[in-house]
């Protein structure tokens, strides 16, 4: 029966609020401000303004060449390691510009870890040493501290039960999925605040992929995760927020559920539904 109940009229969201809901978010961990990036004369990011919420998973999606990987490589100053690469604008980490004069990029990379597309454990090191490497580089020598950190990191990466009897084995002897989780354990061991993942599952089978996705879900309470993925279903599964990039520009950014069900921009709609190009 639909007769007498009055419904409260809600004020409709403005276009700006729909397109950029992140601007209303609190607890932003990372924020880019009018950020540009170039490789030589080729501008790959254009006036990018994006805000990453703390303790959430943010997915970056978009077609090849749209600047996804460049964006996350800028978030921990790895972009500048490429010759002729440069940037302008600001990347704020907890409110401080990581590109400000005098900021040590190594310190930034310690706070903002990276996991790459292809698992890249140090091939000559054991499983244990792979995880402990970062801590040793930071000067940690205490065996019990190292033991505890290695175990904790491997547990967080859902790998401990599989390798606890083989910590002396070479990291390269593990399966592809295990190697990738080892790399995540290695990144977690130095206790970063943000973890950037560049297509972390693209070389993995569905079972290994599912484990990485479960891992991402389990760590987001303590870390801020930004993941670049070509797999839109993966973005839909793992992320809380999704950003769609096209030709170096941020086309749309919003809560994942809303963006996947009801994208505001026609370009996003076409990309998501495969009616692109």
């Amino acid at each position: 029966m639909t007769l007498h109940l009055q419904t409260e009229e809600k004020q409709p969201l403005s276009r700006e609020e729909i397109l950029h809901p992140h601007r209303t978010l609190e607890n932003s961990k990372v924020r880019t401000e009018d950020f540009d990036a170039w490789y030589g004369n080729n501008q790959v990011l254009k006036k990018l303004n994006i805000e990453v919420r703390e303790h959430s998973v943010t997915a970056i999606i978009g077609p090849s060449g749209c600047g996804k990987s460049t964006l996350i490589r800028c978030l921990n100053r790895m972009h500048e390691l490429v010759s002729r690469a440069r940037t302008s604008g600001r990347v704020m980490l907890d409110g401080s510009d990581i590109y400000a004069k005098g900021v040590d990029p190594v310190t930034i990379r310690r706070r903002v870890g990276m996991v790459f597309q292809k698992p890249n454990p140090f091939p000559t090191m054991s499983v244990y040493d792979n995880v402990a490497a970062g801590l040793r580089l930071n000067g940690e020598r205490n065996h019990s501290v190292l033991d505890r950190a290695v175990q904790q990191s491997l547990e967080l990466a859902f790998l401990w039960d599989e390798v606890k009897g083989d910590l002396d084995k070479s990291g390269a002897s593990l399966s592809g999925g295990q190697q990738q989780r080892l790399c995540i354990a290695r990144a977690l061991a130095v206790e970063p605040e943000v973890i950037l993942m560049d297509e972390p599952c693209s070389a993995l089978d569905p079972i290994a992929t599912a484990k990485i996705e479960e891992l991402i879900a389990s760590i987001k309470g303590n870390y801020t995760v930004v993941i670049v993925t070509h797999n839109m279903q993966q973005a839909a599964r793992v992320s809380d927020f999704t950003a769609f990039l096209y030709l170096g520009q941020l086309i749309e950014y919003g809560e994942t559920t809303s963006l996947f069900e009801n994208p505001v921009e026609e370009l996003t709609e076409r990309y998501l539904t495969g009616k692109f190009g």
Partner: protein
């Protein structure tokens, strides 16, 4: 280049349109049968069963499309809406069957004043036709008209009930049968409104608050 999913979406659309046609005929026949005093329960029951089975088929195809193609955005909204609309059409069949049952239970109702049922029935039929047209043509403006039409049916039903409650003298058989049929028509009108509500959702993702 057509996408793999497009063939499935087309099939889903055709199934829903088949249901639309059948449900419209079923409701129309049941209302006309009441007005003409004809007992068409068997025919209407078989159509309503067919609608129920078609609804199951729509759900199965929708789930298959979701499982195989992981649709998003307008594709996802369309599939979700097809499931809702198919449910609405199946309810049309069920209420049409309930209307036809009234004649079976109460027998000859030719002495009853059937004006209210005629009015509400005509309005409900128009609403079904309009909701199907709005859904088929994705016409948001047309779909928007349904809410006001629904109010008309609601009011006919409420007026009848109120009038019956205060009438001391009256044919109980006419009052009860009239109340039942108007109640079924009122629910049919609600479901036609729900069908209409899927149109803005499919087109732009807009969800209207349901009263």
């Amino acid at each position: 280049m057509p996408r793999l999913m497009d063939m499935g979406l087309e099939k889903l659309r055709n199934m829903v349109l088949d249901m639309a046609e059948l449900s419209q005929n079923t409701v129309s026949t049941s209302i006309d049968a009441y007005v003409q005093g004809r007992d068409l329960r068997d025919r209407i029951y078989s159509w309503s069963e067919e609608l129920r089975m078609l609804q199951d088929e729509v759900s199965e195809l929708a789930v298959e499309l979701i499982a195989r193609y992981q649709p998003v955005a307008s594709d996802l909204r369309f599939i979700k809406s097809c499931m809702e609309v198919a449910y609405g059409f199946s309810r049309f069949g069920r209420y049409a069957h309930d209307i036809s049952d009234v004649i079976g239970i109460f027998g000859d109702l030719s002495s009853c004043d059937r004006q209210s049922v005629k009015e509400a029935g005509s309005q409900a039929k128009d609403m079904i036709r309009l909701s199907i047209k709005a859904f088929t043509e994705r016409d948001v403006e047309l779909a928007g008209r349904l809410k006001k039409m629904d109010d008309v049916v609601d009011n006919i039903y409420l007026d009848f009930v109120k009038k019956s409650a205060h009438e001391r003298e009256g044919n109980l058989k006419c009052v009860v049968s009239g109340t039942l049929i108007l109640r079924y028509l009122e629910r049919i009108a609600d479901h036609a409104t729900y069908v209409g509500e899927t149109v803005p959702y499919i087109v732009s993702g807009e969800r209207s608050a349901r009263k």
